[in-house]
Amino acid sequence: MANLFSTRATKGLLKVGEVYCPKNGEFPSFREAAGTAYLNKIVTNVPEDDFGLLSIVLTIFSFLPGSIVHWIVKACANAQNNPSDGVIPSTLRLLNLGLKGLCYAVYYSEFTNPNYTGRKPLDIIDYHVNRVTN
């Protein structure tokens, strides 16, 4: 079965994305720039179980106040920066990997929101690559 984000999970992603990528000077907010229409494409090959768990986490985030989501993101970052053994630190590191990976894969990509007309994050950091095919 294909991995498809529910509306609730997408709401949760937008909320956590705002923590990782807020509106900041030239940088647009995650909500403005992220191409959520492409989300399902990004997770096509994620194992079903892992996708299911990520969806649950994002759905829970959609109901939580922003301050709590912020606190969870910080706890995940701390678990990464000061690694220790045990189920909780390793789960937080896994969450850190999944949330950051998903948010940055949407924000720092060519697949931005088609309705967003401002400067894209990749343009702001001046990232341009040439792909010369054979």
């Binding site: 940055y104 720092y108 990232y127 010369v132 095919t133 054979n134």
Partner: protein, 349 residues
């Protein structure tokens, strides 16, 4: 193994980089090495035509080489084998192998349907995770207690140095030099002169929000060096009855000591090369997945014998990175191909 390396190398296009191909990221690396007396060398890599002279930027190849320049097995060997009669059956997931006296059955799911194949000899080549998963799901854990054990991955840590002038490490040839210092080797690490796309560089930076964005804004000014640790093979690949894998891979004290020696060298190089700030990322990953079905002489301490046969079986073989008994501290790709060649030659006798 020499004849097998020689044959495999002759079947691939191998490119040794030269000074003219060095980009600023490489020049900063070598300048920093020279100031500290660290030995470095040009890389030899399996690539045919990366198109740098046409303006191609190889950082894109980290997500898969769209030019088919990278000499992966798919490019360098599988296509030739297909011309000799190899048939590839895609979208088929093996969940059980069942060897008997004369043949071996392979049970798989193909688009949701159960299918079974049978051959006189079956060779598993699913890599550390894939082969270990197939073997565990086939019930070998009780017969071969080392199945899933001795997993190693060469943990890699990337640090970023910020320069006043653009480095543009994402432009042109991706990587041309690496450390070749015998003291580094003796201390259990090597340094690589790498870089990555903004998404991956973003993963290295632990700060979130505005602070993170400010770092990314300096993307073009980043130099990058990675330390790859020759790690102890204490990891374990665990597999439940549904085939879901869990990897247990702590950094040992020895791994940490080796990593810290590498960090020290990176800091010396970046400082000598003029970095005004160094981002000391603690984020790490393993790209060389080895072990899980290690080679050895008996079933109590290994999974396959020196002839690549699963202990106690005559028709089931494994030839991939899962049979590595420990971490070599270098890219295992060429050796994996050479091991495959060695087994193929044995079977053709």
């Amino acid at each position: 193994m020499d004849p097998h390396y020689t044959q495999v190398e002759s079947d691939m296009v191998l490119h040794t980089f030269v000074k003219e191909e060095m980009r600023p990221n490489g020049k900063l690396f070598t300048a920093g090495c020279d100031k500290h007396g660290y030995k470095w060398g040009f890389l030899r890599r399996g690539q045919s035509d990366c198109g740098a002279d046409q303006g191609n930027d190889c950082v894109g190849c980290l997500g898969g080489c769209f030019r088919d320049s990278k000499q992966s097995s798919l490019v360098a060997f599988i296509q030739k084998a297909e011309k000799e009669g190899l048939e590839i059956i895609a979208e088929t997931e093996v969940h059980k192998v069942e060897p008997n006296k004369d043949t071996c059955k392979v049970h798989a799911f193909q688009k949701g349907k159960q299918v079974t194949f049978e051959g006189k000899k079956v060779i598993l080549a699913g890599g550390a995770f894939g082969s270990t998963r197939m073997m565990t799901m086939s019930g070998y854990k009780s017969k071969l207690p080392m199945l899933g054990k001795k997993f190693a991955s060469h943990p890699q840590f990337m640090w970023l140095g910020f320069q006043n002038e653009p480095v543009d490490a994402h432009k042109g040839m991706f990587q041309s030099v690496a450390s070749k210092d015998p003291n580094f080797r003796a201390q259990g690490f090597k340094l690589e002169n790498v870089f990555a796309s903004p998404i991956s560089i973003g993963m290295l930076i632990n700060e979130t929000g505005a602070k993170h964005q400010e770092y990314l804004k300096k993307y073009r000014y980043m130099q990058c060096i990675e330390v790859a640790v020759r790690d102890e093979n204490v990891g374990e690949i665990q597999c439940d009855n549904k085939g879901k894998l869990t990897i247990v891979k702590p950094l040992t004290d020895q791994d940490k000591t080796r990593r810290n020696k590498g960090f020290e060298a990176i800091e010396n190089i970046m400082t000598a090369a003029g970095a005004y700030e160094i981002y000391k990322s603690q984020f790490y990953f393993g790209l060389h997945l080895m072990g899980g079905c290690v080679m050895g002489t008996d079933g109590a301490n290994s999974v396959v014998n020196p002839e690549f046969q699963v202990h106690g079986e005559k028709t089931l073989y494994i030839a991939d990175s899962s049979i590595y008994p420990n971490a070599p501290g270098i890219n295992p790709g060429l050796t994996i191909k050479s091991l495959g060649h060695k087994l193929a030659m044995e079977l053709l006798k």
